[in-house]
């Protein structure tokens, strides 16, 4: 996997008003996908960074929304990051759905580990 | 406890510190000749046989007997006496068995029993701790005389040496359900018997 030579190849970065973006590569399938946040408007409240489904289903009000962005460069960046997060999540979720690998269990475990930690201590080992 | 062994009349009167109002007369007989007669009188609830008649073959020494007497008094205080009279309760508390009838058969008097312990507890204040007929003897001296009248045997001094001559280890093993591996160490065996007595009923 080659890393962009950031010094020379400025093409990718020009003309984008310094917004965050991401590039997805898959060497196996020879895919390169650029994920842009677009013109907006962008908000700090994201579609993929809300509460878990079961919490939403229980119908309680989400009191823990992120603070609104200030009218500042950094405020803007925070909103744009939220959009980028949504887009990456959506894109990768779609890809996962279209080619679900046989490894799903193992990966789901990894996912849980990242999100919820490694505490498997509730169950006794014997 | 107080321990008054009267060597001349071969009587033992004991009293526990915790129960200062209760005095207990203990007599030991050998060569008893009228065991079956005593038993019959007991069966017919003759009120002048108001004593505990105990088979000393089940005893290693006096400590074992004292331990069961103490336990009986504790139960009496806690209102947990199981049998009809305190006399039978003294016998019952010596036995590990929960069945009163069976306990009295094994630890009380038997028809051809030659050795016998007779025991009488009196409440100093109220005299008869186990109130029955007031025409009956009312002091330990009276009881002493009375016991000598109803038991036809040789009074011997109630001490450990005399009891150890009577002790029947096989019978103890059987009655206390100790199995084969009974300790050869008498001290340990005694501790075990005392333990059984102290935990009787639980």
């Amino acid at each position: 996997m080659t890393v962009l030579n950031k010094g020379d190849n400025n093409d990718d970065l020009n003309g984008i008003e310094n917004r965050p973006f991401a590039i997805y590569y898959n060497i196996g399938e020879a895919i390169e996908k650029r994920i842009e946040v677009g013109d907006g408007p962008h908000f700090t409240k994201g579609k993929t960074s809300g509460p878990s489904d079961f919490v939403l289903k229980a119908g309680i009000k989400d009191k823990d929304k992120p603070s609104e962005a200030k009218d500042s460069c950094l405020g803007k960046l925070r909103s744009e990051l939220t959009t980028l997060q949504d887009k990456i999540n959506v894109y990768l979720t779609e890809r996962m759905a279209s080619n679900s690998s046989g490894n799903n269990n193992e990966e789901a475990k990894f996912e849980k580990e990242i999100l919820d930690g490694t505490a498997e201590d509730d169950e006794d080992e014997y | 406890m107080s321990f008054n062994l009267n060597k001349s009349d071969k009587s033992l009167i004991i009293s526990f510190k915790q129960f200062p109002d209760v005095e207990i007369l203990i007599l030991l007989f050998s060569n008893v000749r009228n065991s079956s007669e005593i038993k019959e009188n007991l069966l017919s609830s003759n009120s002048s046989y108001n004593y505990s008649f105990i088979n000393p073959k089940n005893l290693l020494n006096l400590e074992q007997l004292f331990s069961s007497i103490y336990k009986t008094l504790i139960n009496y205080k806690n209102n947990e006496v199981k049998s009809k009279t305190l006399n039978s309760e003294f016998i019952f508390q010596l036995s590990p068995n929960k069945n009163i009838f069976d306990s009295i058969k094994r630890f009380g008097i038997a028809q051809d029993l030659k050795d016998l312990i007779v025991l009488k507890a009196l409440n100093i204040e109220e005299k008869e701790i186990d109130k029955t007929d007031h025409s009956q003897p009312n002091s330990l001296q009276d009881h002493y005389k009375h016991i000598l009248e109803i038991v036809d045997g040789d009074l011997i001094e109630p001490n450990d040496e005399n009891i150890s001559k009577i002790t029947d280890l096989d019978l103890i093993r059987k009655n206390y359900k100790l199995g084969k591996e009974i300790s050869t160490d008498k001290q340990i065996l005694l501790k075990e018997l005392i333990g059984v007595i102290q935990l009787k009923g639980y």
């Binding site: 006794d124 080992e125 | 406890m1 510190k17 806690n78 005392i194």
Partner: protein
């Protein structure tokens, strides 16, 4: 109940018995008395008997309180009796015995047990022989009295997991091998207990009482005991069987060992990991080896292995236990 009330209640239950409070444990108050409940007083002796009284605990719900008090009093008496009939001897090494104080009398509904007094009172570091149960010859006090002799500057420089250099070790614990022998013997005794399928449930260094016994010689053994079986003249008695229970489960025995291990670590942190617990476990192993040899039955060796394996698991569980919030 306040201490005062407890004492008054005890006096009502034990009229005319002189009572001296010697320790107030968590669940029981311990009295000593010169009076035997049912034997004549020997004028010559200054006998001591122990009365263990489990008063009702007013913080508990009355139903729960009754249930616990009765259960513990009865349980302790029953197990003492059970052990007496199982071990049948005073010889820990050759007969697989477990030494316990013998039961003298009980008053179960009132939470009272009379016991034989074991142990003696240790000398204060200042040389004062205090008749105080804070000074009773428990394993804890015995070890503390030796640990106290370590100069303070060594204490503060000593890290828990340091292995002390041999010379330092000898100078620190001058009768080091005696402690080793003693702990080995205690390990054997705990093995004997477990071989009887009894778990103590509350093994700590406070619940092992050392009884001076110069007559008793640990003989006929070829085990991990150094220097002529010298245990500083002590025989270890196990006490406090209120939480004990019968079980043949590997798990229960492993947890029993784990509790002891932890109690030693928290009570004697400087020497626990590298010394005391190692010696105790060595003794424990020896106990199973002795039994195996005596009965010519290898299954005891395997049993020991399984228990130790499970002990590892139990330890791991203890460390891994999530501690959130």
């Amino acid at each position: 109940m306040s201490r005062d009330l407890i004492e008054r209640k005890a006096l009502l239950l034990l009229p005319h018995i002189p009572l001296l409070v010697v320790s107030q444990g968590a669940e029981a108050i311990i009295f000593q008395t010169s009076v035997h409940p049912y034997l004549p007083q020997l004028t010559s002796s200054d006998s001591i008997y122990i009365i263990k009284y489990r008063p009702s605990k007013p913080y508990r719900h009355p139903i729960l309180d009754k249930q616990i008090t009765k259960h513990r009093t009865l349980n302790e008496s029953k197990l003492l009796l059970k052990l007496l009939s199982l071990s049948n001897s005073n010889d820990i090494i050759n007969d697989g015995a477990v030494l316990t104080p013998s039961l003298i009398a009980t008053d179960i509904p009132n939470g009272l047990i009379w016991l034989q007094f074991v142990g003696h009172f240790l000398n204060d570091p200042d040389g004062v022989n205090q008749k105080n149960f804070n000074n009773i010859s428990s394993l804890k006090n015995y070890l503390w009295s030796i640990e106290k002799k370590i100069p303070l500057h060594i204490h503060s420089n000593l890290k828990e997991d340091d292995i002390i250099s041999q010379s330092l070790e000898k100078s620190i614990i001058s009768i080091n091998y005696k402690i080793k022998n003693l702990l080995t013997l205690i390990g054997i005794e705990i093995a004997n207990l477990h071989i009887f399928d009894i778990c103590h449930g509350d093994l700590t260094s406070s619940n092992i009482i050392l009884q001076k016994n110069s007559n008793y010689i640990l003989k006929g053994i070829n085990i991990d005991i150094e220097n002529d079986t010298d245990t500083d003249g002590y025989l270890p008695y196990l006490i406090d069987f209120g939480l004990s229970f019968q079980s043949n489960l590997i798990e229960d025995k492993a947890v029993d060992l784990y509790l002891l291990e932890k109690a030693i670590i928290s009570t004697h942190p400087l020497f626990a990991n590298n010394y005391y617990n190692v010696w105790l476990l060595n003794g424990y192993k020896t106990g199973y080896q002795l039994k195996s040899k005596k009965l010519n039955n290898k299954s005891y060796i395997n049993q020991h292995k399984t228990i130790i394996k499970r002990l590892d698991l139990v330890r791991l569980r203890g460390r891994k236990k999530s501690m959130i919030g």
